[in-house]
């Protein structure tokens, strides 16, 4: 079997985070792939919740859009968008949320709105979507992003959703009910907020990745855990199922 790519490792590590979860909120792309993989390999009872309103979807392939017909056909039930955001997300009924972003800072605050100035952006990104309220209200948030200097920035160009704000106490002060980001999973490693400072700290490194490469791809002076661990490589089963999902 061909060795796992770093992207595949990232997906597998994200999937493993869902072992104990009862429900996960997902968008399209790698988060969706990871959640489908988790349901197939690690946690068959996992409830997949898509923003489109499909709750308990059981896709057999990775959907292109969050509104693909298969999600609606296989869902336990389907709700309207207002119901999704009020009853399910806003009220804190979803345990884990996967979020992506164009920029992340050391407190796992996220930007998916603009690169550059808001009024004259260098790049106009899609915008908030569900992220602000998902980040505030879901039980915990796992951020899935590529590890690159343009992504891991000292200062966000725009705060689209709040992670740990400016540090300890921020979320409580803002009245958020969810615990916020518990991990940022990249294609190089895993970062977790330090329990005392909330600052993202490197806690795991994927196979074959050098610490220096991670430092170089991070736009701030990265803290490294004293307990830095190597990522457990994907198993044959994880890789086989993952490749089956993405090759279709």
């Amino acid at each position: 079997m061909i060795a796992a790519s770093l992207g595949e490792v990232q997906t597998v590590v994200a999937a493993r985070r869902l072992r104990e979860a009862s429900s996960v909120f997902i968008g399209v792309g790698r988060p969706s792939t990871a959640a489908i993989l988790a349901r197939r390999v690690h946690n068959p009872g996992l409830v997949l919740v898509y923003e489109s309103g499909t709750v308990g979807a059981k896709p057999t392939r990775v959907p292109l859009s969050i509104g693909d017909g298969e999600l609606a056909e296989t869902a336990d039930f389907i709700v309207s968008v207002p119901e999704m955001f009020n009853y399910w997300i806003g009220a804190g009924r979803i345990e884990v949320a996967f979020l992506g972003a164009a920029q992340v800072d050391r407190f796992a605050n996220l930007n998916s709105t603009v690169i550059g100035a808001y009024d004259h952006p260098k790049a106009r990104l899609p915008g908030a979507g569900g992220a602000p309220e998902i980040a505030a209200a879901c039980g915990e948030v796992i951020v899935i992003v590529p590890h690159a200097r343009r992504t891991f920035v000292e200062k966000l160009d725009f705060v689209t959703s709040v992670g740990h704000g400016t540090g300890p106490g921020s979320r409580r002060q803002l009245g958020f009910r969810g615990a916020g980001p518990s991990a940022v999973i990249t294609d190089l490693g895993v970062l977790e907020p330090d329990p005392a400072t909330c600052e993202l700290t490197l806690t795991a490194m994927h196979p074959g990745v050098e610490l220096e490469a991670i430092r170089a791809a991070t736009g701030w002076d990265l803290h490294v855990s004293d307990d830095l661990k190597p990522t457990e490589p994907p198993t044959v089963q994880e890789l086989t199922v993952l490749r089956g999902l993405t090759s279709r």
């Binding site: 399209v28 792309g29 923003e51 489109s52 309103g53 499909t54 959907p63 292109l64 859009s65 969050i66 509104g67 693909d68 017909g69 999600l71 609606a72 039930f77 389907i78 709700v79 309207s80 968008v81 207002p82 999704m84 955001f85 009020n86 997300i89 806003g90 709105t113 808001y118 952006p121 260098k122 790049a123 106009r124 899609p126 915008g127 908030a128 979507g129 569900g130 992220a131 602000p132 309220e133 505030a136 209200a137 725009f158 705060v159 689209t160 959703s161 709040v162 704000g165 921020s170 803002l174 009245g175 958020f176």
Partner: protein, 271 residues
């Protein structure tokens, strides 16, 4: 009571230049045929409202039909950027466009407030983000608990246009699958038009179906395949290849204009 009408006639009757228009559809049942007909009719200066402006609004913005966009997520779902939307905001091409952006929660609640006849909706949202300074929300305090919340003003489009699977001859409409925010958009709007895949003698309400009664609608037009390349659950399939293809054709201004000219403007005007 809704009138059964031709798409062209119905839109000419209901939509004028300068109107705020919501062509809703959340990843499903997107009213492409109606949007294209608005372009053929040459509608201009529109305030386009939609939670997820995807390819249809990319086309309408790229053709210069919009003066303003109210939205919460502007992407080509699963594919990437909307290049015409980006070009309009980043470079003012083909014209400058005013933007009012929200979160999904904010916009969904704004529609619900509009449908409820309320001036605003309350939610726990936007807090701590830079959006607050860029959009229309105000902090409020709950009079019962003292909790700090956010108020978002009701959305009340001049016109809402949606696509559904079926209607009966009296103009009652039913849709199912992912219901999105279409019911709220219709009930929030001053004027409404629904395009449908089929017209039946009698609607059979189905479990999970969303029924909008004829006495809350203005016009219903029979437009089979009217949501393609989006889809109508149980009737047509989403054309995922088109969404990928759009990423290519929409990158270039000339290629875009040529495609629109051939496939949309050159299309036969609806009756």
């Amino acid at each position: 009571m809704a009138e059964l009408t031709g798409l062209g006639e119905g839109l000419r009757e209901l939509v004028s230049d300068g109107d705020s228009v919501a062509l809703e559809g959340f990843t499903h049942l997107i009213p492409f045929a109606a949007g294209h007909e608005l372009l053929r009719q040459g509608r201009a200066e529109l305030e386009l409202i939609r939670m997820t402006p995807d390819v249809l609004y990319d086309q309408m913005i790229g053709m210069g039909a919009a003066r303003k966009l109210v939205f919460s997520y502007g992407g080509n779902p699963g594919v990437g950027s909307l290049h015409r939307f980006r070009d309009a905001i980043e470079h003012g091409w083909p014209r400058e466009i005013e933007v009012e952006e929200h979160s999904h929660a904010g916009m969904a609640n704004a529609y619900a407030a509009g449908a409820s006849g309320l001036p605003c909706a309350l939610l726990r949202g936007y807090v701590g983000t830079d959006l607050i300074a860029r959009t229309r929300v105000e902090p409020v305090v709950c009079p019962f608990t003292g909790e700090r919340l956010v108020a978002v003003p009701a959305l009340r489009p001049d016109v809402a246009i949606v696509h559904a699977q079926e209607a009966d001859r009296r103009g009652n409409v039913q849709l199912w699958g992912i219901p999105g925010v279409q019911k709220e958009a219709l009930l929030a709007a001053s004027r409404t038009l629904v395009t449908v895949e089929r017209v039946l003698d009698e609607l059979e309400p189905r479990p999970g179906g969303v029924v909008i009664p004829t006495w809350q609608l203005d016009a219903v037009a029979h437009v089979p395949r009217g949501s393609l390349p989006s889809y109508s659950h149980g009737v047509t399939d989403r054309d995922n290849d088109f969404y990928r293809f759009w990423d290519q054709v929409s990158r270039d201004r000339d290629a875009f204009a040529a495609w629109m000219s051939e496939h949309v403007l050159g299309g036969v005007a609806a009756r």
